[in-house]
């Protein structure tokens, strides 16, 4: 993505970035190291995929970045802000959608109300969000009765409706079939095209290939590699990453 001249840069272009982590460690309840010395820097203008097998620590890393967990050691800053301070300008989509026992529409309204959007303004924003996610005709259905793919699209729409500067997604299509996965990926592309910085996790190499501009390869709590997607998929530097993208089962 070409950088615009400094003076022409649109005001407020993602001041949350760069995301910088330094020596990030997280210890689980049984004193096991789940993340061990993870350091990286993410700048603006990319779709980043955190790739790694199950149990690598991807979800924990994303929760740390969003301020839902506290690191045992190390630093996280979003353009200088702490994760807690930056969280309100981010959207988060969980691996298992957390949907309220309400209608599709009421799920979106809930976030708008929390963020202080005036009641009169909410209707139009709900409609726009559902439209973008292809859920407009399901607005009055109970959210938890939707299909898995529709539920995840609703989660994305709900995270997106506040137009966050950063959208974090934790394996948003890990339990979906190919058609539903494609719909989710299309939506993620649209979010990114709309200007949100997308950071998502996946264990699906194909998905990483389709969506990533750059890849963080995480394995057993270690960040083994951080490269642009093109060079990562052409030939990863780390042997474990090479075996992983060849489809070997690493653990």
């Amino acid at each position: 993505m070409a950088e615009v001249e400094g003076s022409l840069e649109p005001a407020g272009a993602c001041p949350l970035l760069p995301l910088v982590t330094d020596g990030l460690c997280f210890t689980g309840g049984d004193r096991r190291l789940i993340l061990d010395g993870v350091s990286f820097r993410l700048d603006d203008g990319f779709r980043t995929v955190i790739l790694g097998p199950n149990g690598a620590g991807k979800s924990v890393l994303l929760r740390l970045c969003h301020g839902l967990l506290r690191p045992t050691a190390g630093q996280i800053t979003w353009g200088g802000l702490s994760p807690a301070a930056a969280a309100s300008r981010q959207g988060m989509v969980f691996q298992r959608p957390v949907l309220l026992r309400r209608s599709v529409r009421a799920n979106i309204e809930h976030v708008l109300a929390i963020k202080g959007v005036r009641a009169g303004e909410r209707g139009a924003r709900v409609r726009a969000a559902l439209e973008r996610a292809g859920l407009a005709r399901l607005a009055d259905r109970p959210a938890r009765m939707l299909s898995g793919g529709e539920q995840q699209r609703l989660s994305i729409a709900r995270a997106w409706v506040m137009e966050p500067e950063v959208l974090l997604l934790d394996e948003p299509s890990s339990s979906l079939d190919p058609a539903a996965t494609r719909a989710v990926e299309d939506l993620v592309r649209e979010v990114a095209a709309g200007g949100a910085r997308v950071i998502m996790t996946t264990h699906d190499i194909g998905q990483a290939r389709r969506l990533a501009d750059d890849v963080l390869f995480l394995h057993r709590g270690h960040l083994l590699e951080h490269s642009p997607a093109s060079s990562f998929f052409a030939g990863p530097a780390h042997p474990a990453a090479a075996r992983f993208i060849q489809g070997d089962l690493i653990d």
């Binding site: 839902l68 969280a87 988060m92 957390v98 309220l100 026992r101 109970p142």
Partner: protein, 234 residues
Amino acid sequence: MTDFVNAFRTAFELIVGLDPELVRIVTLSLQISLAAVLAATVIALPLGAAVALLRFPGRRAVVILLNAAMGLPPVVVGLVVYLLLSRAGPLGSFGLLFTPTAMIVAQCILVMPIIAALTRQTITDLHEEYDEYLRSVGAGPLRSIGTLIRDGRFRLLTAVLAGFGRAIAEVGAVLIVGGNIQNVTRVMTTTIALETSKGNLALALGLGLILIIVATTINGLAMAVGEAAESRHG
């Protein structure tokens, strides 16, 4: 055997003919139990939610106490309330013993822990599920509690109905603090107990039938509420 058949026939006649004595007893029963459950709910909902959501010293003890209190023996509750309200007791000056108010107090004590414990469980489960979402979107404590109560409303209603079911069917506590005084504190259960022992089976049977209808209606309602919630929201 003919006694028995006669008793049944008379019982039906009492019900169908809306016998004034029977109607008075049923009405008082419903009034007392409704008031008791209402008062218990007002205490139990915030208490259950607080125990579910707040971390304070002694919280575990409160949880254990609430769960244990779900099985309080009604006669013991009756005895304690009796001691409190009797002329020599600490609250004796209010002159509440052998009044409907005393019965409401006793039933309230009996069902409050049930509603509170079920509320705590409901809110705990929902909170576990919603917590990360609520924190992610920056919901404050009041908003969070409101969301949990609203989304738990079907299960909370079931808890209230369970409380009502226990209150209306209970005999020990209200017998002790109410005294089964005709036209004043006679409710369905106490009347059944005493009329049976006096051999007046007709009134006892008539009230028994109504009590069964009330109890099964409450249970049916609770089931319907649960199923409606399940089919609507999963």
